[in-house]
Symmetry: C2
């Protein structure tokens, strides 16, 4: 086919192919020409299979190439999917990815439903909202979560989830920043840091990236790092209640952390996505610690409170008091990032968020959280009864089970093969997670009970 013919085919089909009804079998009508190499051919002898493969002259981002294998949770999904055809009759139960399973309380979904419907009316329609979020929602977040802590409405940036904001924060801090993470920790901190070029290469032996400070958290130190051994980093990612260990830091520990940050001039990125799971008097927010506003920002989420994992809503608090070395407010730069790289969370979803923070909504969220906490109790009791050392679970939806001396991925595979239950291998959260398995409390009650029955059979 000549180039002319090809173009004329494209022209004649363009008006019908755009917004075309899919009644015609278009799929096999790819009319693009075999490609030619222009400008990128750099060697004389081209291997046979590459002859017709055009490559651009754009170098792959070297930071992307540093990333190891897949992001943890897609990798687990891949292994789960590979398991299914092998055991077609098995009832696979997922206590792996930390995905919520219980319906969203009706008071919340009906608010989203109403907002959706209103968008089809002149009065109820709204276009671009404030990138930082709708004022009533920002105000409700302050009064619900930060009452008395000196956080203002304009310190709140509503987002489409904590994971997304973590990446935006990394873009804000830039490639010259250095980071510290709890080890083990939620993989998005490390992976987004690698992507931004803050790290060195992955060191296979250590199972660590260069230039990241891994703060070991294990049973010996009560899952709080020995700060006297931690090197200074610009940014300290700290998650409490912790994903994956389920451990919540005490007021004294967080006071130490804030002091450590102050002594070093570091910024704490405090991930409080599980704060509502705290049952005792441990802090729900880093801003409960005096002076924290000068060294910390906090990111949070509706995902695990209201079942919003698929709905997508979170927020980040950046206090005006948090300043860079040159005195420039971090919040001003974050505002610029939010305005340039984001366009605000969906208005429909924000209506859901506002309903979450109504008296009925808060009550309903507490019930959802309470349900998952009961699941955590069941899982903890099970592993305790089997003689395992079990951590977390009390103030978090994650149970952290110790299999001393064993490989996490081996245990993950053993559990999947023999019980058809998907868990998460601790080493997926960093080398400090090796020998542990994270069991998520997110699941229907009968699934959690059934999974625990199978655990008892396997490890009795």
């Amino acid at each position: 086919m000549s180039l002319t013919q090809n173009i004329s085919t494209s022209i004649s089909s363009s008006s019908s192919s755009f917004l075309a009804y899919s009644v015609f079998p278009y799929r096999n009508r790819d009319v693009s020409l075999p490609s030619k190499n222009f400008g990128t051919c750099r060697c004389v002898a081209i291997p046979q299979e590459e002859k017709t493969t055009y490559k651009t002259n754009v170098s792959r981002n070297a930071n992307m190439a540093k990333l190891q294998a897949g992001y943890l949770f897609p990798e687990i999904a891949r292994r789960r999917n590979a398991h299914l055809p092998k055991y077609p009759d098995s009832k696979v139960i997922s206590l792996g990815i930390g995905d919520t399973t219980e319906p969203i309380p009706e008071v919340i979904t009906s608010a989203m439903s109403k907002r959706s419907q209103a968008l089809s009316t002149l009065q109820g329609y709204s276009g671009y909202g404030a990138e930082q979020g709708e004022k009533p929602l920002r105000a409700a977040i302050v009064s619900t979560f930060y009452g008395g802590l000196g956080i203002d409405e304009d310190d709140i940036f509503v987002s489409d989830g904590a994971k997304c904001d973590i990446s935006r924060l990394q873009v804000l801090f830039g490639s010259e920043a250095t980071i510290a993470v709890q080890d083990p920790s939620y993989p998005a901190y490390v992976d987004s840091s690698v992507i931004m070029g803050q790290t060195g290469l992955y060191q296979k032996d250590a199972e660590k990236y260069g230039n990241i400070e891994y703060m070991r958290c294990n049973p010996e130190n009560g899952f709080f790092p020995d700060l006297s051994k931690v090197c200074r980093a610009d940014i300290i990612f700290f998650c409490s209640p912790n994903n994956p260990t389920g451990s919540a830091a005490t007021r004294e520990q967080l006071t130490q952390l804030v002091q450590f940050a102050k002594d070093n001039g570091s910024i704490i990125v405090y991930d409080s996505a599980y704060a509502m799971y705290i049952s005792d008097d441990k802090p729900r927010s880093i801003f409960e610690i005096p002076g924290a506003k000068e060294v910390a920002l906090e990111t949070a989420s509706f995902s695990k409170y209201a079942g919003f994992t698929g709905v997508r809503l979170g927020w980040t608090v950046v206090p005006k008091e948090l300043l860079f070395l040159d005195g420039f407010p971090v919040a001003k730069d974050f505002n610029r990032i939010v305005c340039t790289c984001f366009n605000g969370a969906s208005n429909v979803v924000q209506a859901g968020g506002l309903a979450c923070l109504s008296p009925e909504g808060r009550n309903a969220m507490q019930k959802v959280v309470g349900f998952y906490k009961e699941n955590a109790d069941i899982i903890m009791d099970t592993f305790n009864s089997l003689g395992f050392n079990v951590y977390g679970g009390r103030n978090a939806p994650y149970v952290w089970v110790h299999f001393p001396g064993r490989s996490s991925w081996d245990v993950f595979s053993e559990i999947l093969e023999k019980t058809h239950v998907v868990t998460t291998p601790g080493s997926g959260f960093g080398p400090g997670g090796e020998g542990f398995i994270r069991v998520s409390a997110f699941g229907h009650r009968d699934n959690v009970l059934e999974a625990c029955r199978r655990f008892k059979q396997l490890y009795k």
Copy 2:
């Protein structure tokens, strides 16, 4: 107040302040201590006002400091808000930011409403979705917009909007990439490039950033750059129909562009957010051009078709055929970015997107687009009748009006002061926009008519 007292205040208030009802006047109860300087005091004489201001030791990202003033649209909103108190009785009409105004067709909102409601049921609940988007939506995007063009479902990445994906693409390409933009162009390309560190400093005289190739588009070249004068860049951002000039590239021009990219080994980021506004036979997708899949990806949006500016939904097409210099597929790295830095678009919103692509939904979107195109006609006729040279508008919701020899911001201010109509100064889109004003066709009909009456009074 001592530290001990302070801590005990925090402890005693913590359980009630978390999820507290906002009946207590907490706002004045900020109990944080006056801060002290630890570790960052680097000079002996501290100015009086800085004595109590704690600064971290974290350097501000130098790329953020390169950014000029505010992002364009928040800046316009700021000027609009400053205008209001000066003219409290004026009826301000916004034809500025490009924000949709017409209600979303009911067939679409009812799908979102239903999906919301379903989330409160066991059967209808869903948690984390695929980061790349729901399969039926990805399939519908292919059949609606890319039928016959050889694009597969798994080339589609559903997003929360084109602006957000542009930033994610910049993160993907990294700080070593070089970019070219149409001049004038949508500011997010340049600003996200600055943030990623791809550029030099802002050069006040030239009104350009260093290390960006600005491809001048003006009436003289039919708003298509003279590619013989364009230096190679890794990434070429190209928007057609163009924001802000409203010009849509012809098939011959896009064929030239694809050839230019191929000759240089560049990657085209083709922004087709306004494709449905094309009335004639110009290409709606870069993939209508033979060979484009090897040199281009395409980002698009429901915002201007279905009034989704506040609802947030878009997509990016990254063909498998698009390869980096080392042969690594761009799509694989983009997939990793999407999985690490994003968690998928809201499930409620994706239900709306799927409804957009049903036969009724497509019909309804065409009507919305048709309505705004009539507005564009009215605006074009107005400025034509006043003797201005007017561009765009035929295949785009933007009318690009020439005020030769005048400053865009001066004209913007003149129009705002004298007609209370908000437009957008062309120079906000780059130096090539100087002397132009972008008038958006997004508005209620009576507002557009009234704005045009006022334009006629001002410029008669």
